[in-house]
């Protein structure tokens, strides 16, 4: 692979186009979240549980295929105690007929099937998860802002926070827009996106800080361009390896991890984009100047010497 060092892309020159793109994506995402809402999976909504008894041990895969082809969503099929007893969970609002409907469908393949019971099942996660995790996320964002403000400067903290919000809103928005199944694995993926996006932002910031300190010119957009170009090969390598993993998961992994991979793919693309065009580019309208970083310079240098 050839080095990218000779490349000097004028990132900051195109920042206004990027702002417009981001704003559009945000509007579409927020609109989708508000008006279409998330298509929450079985983990969040609960559904119906049907227990059936077969005359002879059936093929579980065949049951899965049959139910999914008939329009049932989020089907989970498991043996229950014995190989002839099968427990089926469906994301289907419970009513008294669901059990009979499922049994009739299963009988259509000629097996002898009896309904043992059908019952409503609640969500796998409680309100506690939503409330506490929401609070946790807010506190975490607050602490991260403080840390970034302390290690860099408060303007950086604002940029990092906005970049994070941008990424999360767009990923959730895409799930709402295309009505993809939002389950616990997708929630985990979104937390991973937060981690990735922060990581990427800080790496760009670190280089921006270094460039501001060492550069002799005062033209901020030019300094930013140099810093971002310097991290470009790293950014491409890291997001490259991660995207390779995700493509493998998406194309080969099957249903269970498909949405997980989609959430992360979207998250990593917007996360990389936002590190440059939200986190870094927003420092320009915030009027970041060299003086913002100089008072803290001495303190930071001392700390760096102690760390290794």
């Amino acid at each position: 692979m050839k080095p990218l060092s000779h490349l000097q892309i004028d990132f900051m020159g195109r920042r206004n186009i990027a702002f417009v793109v981001s704003a559009l994506l945000l509007v579409v995402s927020i609109g989708a979240i508000l008006f279409q809402q998330l298509n929450l999976g079985l983990d969040f909504t609960g559904g119906t549980l049907v227990e059936v008894r077969y005359g002879a041990a059936p093929s579980l895969d065949a049951i899965r295929v049959l139910l999914e082809e008939s329009g049932f969503q989020d089907v989970s099929v498991q043996t229950f105690g014995a190989s002839t007893e099968v427990l089926i969970r469906l994301q289907q609002a419970f009513d008294a007929d669901v059990g009979a409907e499922v049994v009739n469908l299963l009988r259509s393949s000629g097996d002898s099937v009896d309904l043992v019971r059908s019952e409503f099942v609640g969500s796998q996660v409680g309100d506690q998860l939503r409330d506490q995790s929401g609070l946790g996320l807010l506190v975490a964002l607050g602490v991260v802002m403080l840390y970034v403000a302390f290690r860099f400067q408060y303007k950086f903290a604002i940029g990092a926070l906005l970049a994070l919000l941008h990424d999360v809103i767009i990923v959730v928005g895409i799930f709402a827009l295309f009505q993809l199944d939002f389950d616990l694995t997708v929630l985990a993926a979104i937390l991973a996106v937060i981690g990735y996006s922060l990581n990427d932002t800080i790496v760009v910031y670190d280089r921006v800080r270094e460039a501001i300190r060492t550069s002799r010119i005062d033209d901020m957009p030019q300094i930013f361009n140099e810093a971002i170009n310097a991290t470009l090969s790293r950014t491409l390598a890291t997001s490259g390896t991660t995207i390779l993993v995700l493509l493998a998961l998406l194309l080969l992994g099957g249903d269970m991890i498909e949405n997980f991979a989609i959430a992360l793919l979207v998250g990593i693309v917007v996360g990389t984009f936002s590190s440059i065009y939200i986190a870094a580019a927003l420092l320009l309208p915030l009027k970041l100047s060299r003086e913002d970083l100089i008072p803290t310079k001495k303190e930071l240098d001392e700390e760096e010497e102690e760390l290794p």
Binding site: G122, L187, L249
Partner: protein, 617 residues
């Protein structure tokens, strides 16, 4: 200039590597699906029976890995998960009443590894299934408990206003208090109805037989029941998934039942004890000799049934006010539980103890249990199981209050360290709002199809392979270093997860591989920096030194910020979010260690102590 590491750093890496290997190795020996056969009469089974089973299994094309006998019990290890249920059915049919046949997951870890108490990660409900418990919440008890609490609060209110009352009685869904005169009753009625709007009030009798009857409205009954179910769900979730990495399934089923599914559990007895435990604590003062009898209660000690104590009926606080609890040992090596109370609990405790220094305070251990009896209907001959719930209450300690107690204190008087550990877990995870009973216990198969599992596993292997190839192509020799570090990173990650007793689900495996894909970031940063410094004309050794040094702040800053998020999510979040935070933190720490120290050690060993003209990077 040369790049060298002091010897201790190499030794440290070596030690971490060895420990990591020991604790991650058991995962290479996954548990075997097995069936366990024991004689119904308790004597040992004879070889012929086992031979018949063997013949029947091979007739049905079930591949057997091994037959093992231990203490008269036979363990038949099978090759395939799918064969476990049919094999059990075959053996049970064949042996009939002579033997008990049960499913088992047989540990396959070699003994020398077991000696380090190393064990593999459990496979999740999606990959292997587990055990399914159906629990029923005792709604009547939930109502009674609520009425008792309300009764206690009403008595307190009446005492505060100096209104004399005689008896309080709790029935199905109503509460009644006796008064000495109708005037007292009427004042009490207006006083209580202001504070307790959820009751319907009626006055019965008059004069010395005045009674106030308070009945819960239908709406408040259903509110109390909903609350009981939801509270129990939360508590059970906390109990079976303290760290968030156990991947259980806890959900409501129907109006008053709860399903708990636990992955890979072998010891269902221990699991049931934790899931179904309804233990709670109450802290009460010992009665004074002059306390009126209707305010006291005589209770026995748990360890010495002959010893009793006279306690106040009013409760200072219950286990519900405990915010955290841990178990340890006191100075004499006896088990104890350290308790921290929440704000309200601390205030109540402080108020009660401050004014009662010198009196005795008792810790009461309360457990709801039930006894099943099989009742045969004389007419139809049909057998039904009748459940008789009962409450076991016993004192675990009675000690003099030496000084006002605050938010944290400890209790002693427990039987064993296991009991202390279980009590601490129960107090930490909150008590059940209503007692629960086991209705059904079954094994459950994997929720994912075999094909889905295969595809998932294939995709993560390919993903991992792509990362390795990418690093090799891009960074050549340094890519080899990074890949070795990556392998060590995976080993450490798996080792720590195994030690924490984490459960491996398909998304979890995908997450681990993703962590590895992201973990190369630190090495990428360093290697890119080395290349840059080389281009700027630095000598090889200087470039290595500068590359590691200059990338260091970026790496540390980026990882500390992410680690902060993880730590906060862990301390505030719950369930799967907590589990994610644990995995993320471990991933960050292991990848920092391997990317910074391990690759540097390799670079130093390889290039560090000799003049090098060109780096293959």
């Amino acid at each position: 200039m040369l790049n060298r590491y002091p010897l201790w750093k190499y030794l440290l890496i070596l030690v971490v590597l060895v420990v990591g290997l020991i604790y991650s190795l058991p995962n290479l020996f996954p548990e075997d699906p097995a069936i366990q056969i024991s004689s119904a009469q308790g004597d040992s089974l004879d070889e012929q029976q086992i031979e018949r089973v063997e013949a029947a299994l091979s007739e049905n094309d079930i591949e057997v890995k091994a037959f093992e006998e231990e203490n008269g019990q036979w363990l038949i290890r099978l090759r395939h998960d799918d064969d476990q249920l049919p094999a059990r059915d075959i053996a049970a049919d064949l042996l009939g009443d002579e033997a008990t046949v049960a499913l088992n997951l047989a540990e396959a870890t070699p003994e020398w590894l077991q000696a380090f108490s190393a064990s593999p990660m459990t496979l999740g409900l999606d990959l292997r299934g587990g055990v399914h418990f159906l629990l029923e919440v005792d709604m009547d008890a939930a109502l009674t408990q609520r009425l008792e609490v309300n009764g206690s609060a009403m008595r307190e209110l009446l005492r505060g206003e100096r209104i004399r009352y005689r008896n309080t009685e709790v029935e199905e869904r109503s509460l009644s208090i006796d008064f000495a005169s109708s005037e007292d009753r009427d004042t009490a009625r207006s006083l209580i109805s202001r504070d307790f709007p959820e009751f319907e009030y009626s006055s019965e009798g008059d004069g010395r037989a005045s009674t106030l009857v308070m009945t819960l409205s239908d709406q408040s009954v259903s509110e109390i029941q909903d609350y009981a179910i939801n509270q129990n769900l939360t508590t059970l979730r906390n109990r079976v998934n303290e760290l968030g990495v156990a991947e259980p399934m806890v959900q409501r089923q129907g109006p008053n039942q709860i399903v708990v599914e636990l992955p890979g559990i072998q010891d269902t007895v221990a699991a049931k004890r934790i899931v179904g435990a309804t233990a709670n604590l109450e802290f009460r003062l010992e009665a004074r000799p002059d306390t009126p009898e209707n305010e006291t209660e005589t209770l026995t000690f748990r360890n010495e049934p002959a010893r009793t104590a006279e306690l106040m009926r009013d409760v200072i606080i219950t286990g519900d006010s405990v915010s955290s609890a841990s178990n340890s040992f006191d100075e004499n090596g006896r088990p104890q539980v350290n308790i921290d109370l929440d704000g309200t609990g601390g205030t109540l405790m402080n108020r009660a103890t401050r004014t009662n220094i010198g009196r005795n305070m008792a810790v009461l251990f309360i457990e709801h249990k039930s006894e099943d009896t099989v009742v045969t209907d004389p007419e139809t001959g049909e057998e039904t199981i009748e459940r008789e719930p009962y409450v076991e209450r016993g004192l675990i300690s009675l000690a003099t209050i030496q000084s006002a107690l605050g938010n944290s204190f400890r209790i002693t008087g427990l039987d064993s360290p296991t009991e202390a550990a279980e009590l601490a877990l129960l107090l930490r995870s909150g008590s059940l709002a209503a007692p629960i009973y086991f209705v059904q216990e079954r094994t459950i198969g994997p929720s994912l199809g075999a094909e889905n599992i295969e595809r998932g596993l294939l995709s993560v292997q390919i993903g991992l392979l792509l990362v390795v190839l990418f690093m090799l192509v891009r960074y050549k020799v340094f890519g080899v270093f990074a890949n070795i570090a990556l392998a060590l990173n995976l080993t450490l990650l798996v080792a720590v997860m195994s030690m924490l007793g984490a459960t491996l689900t398909l998304p979890g495996i995908a997450g681990i591989v993703l962590t590895l894909g992201m973990a190369v970031d630190a090495n990428v940063l360093i290697f890119e920096r080395i290349r840059e410094e080389l281009r700027n004309g630095m000598s090889v050794q200087q470039a290595i030194q500068a590359g590691y040094e200059r990338a260091f702040t970026s790496i540390v800053d980026a990882n500390i910020t992410t680690l902060l998020v993880a730590v906060i999510l862990f301390s505030i979040g719950s369930g799967p979010v907590k589990g994610f935070a644990v995995t993320l933190s471990i991933g960050i720490l292991t990848s920092l260690f391997t990317a910074l120290m391990v690759t540097r050690a390799m670079v130093n060993l390889f290039y560090g102590s000799k003049p090098v003209k060109k780096l293959w990077i």
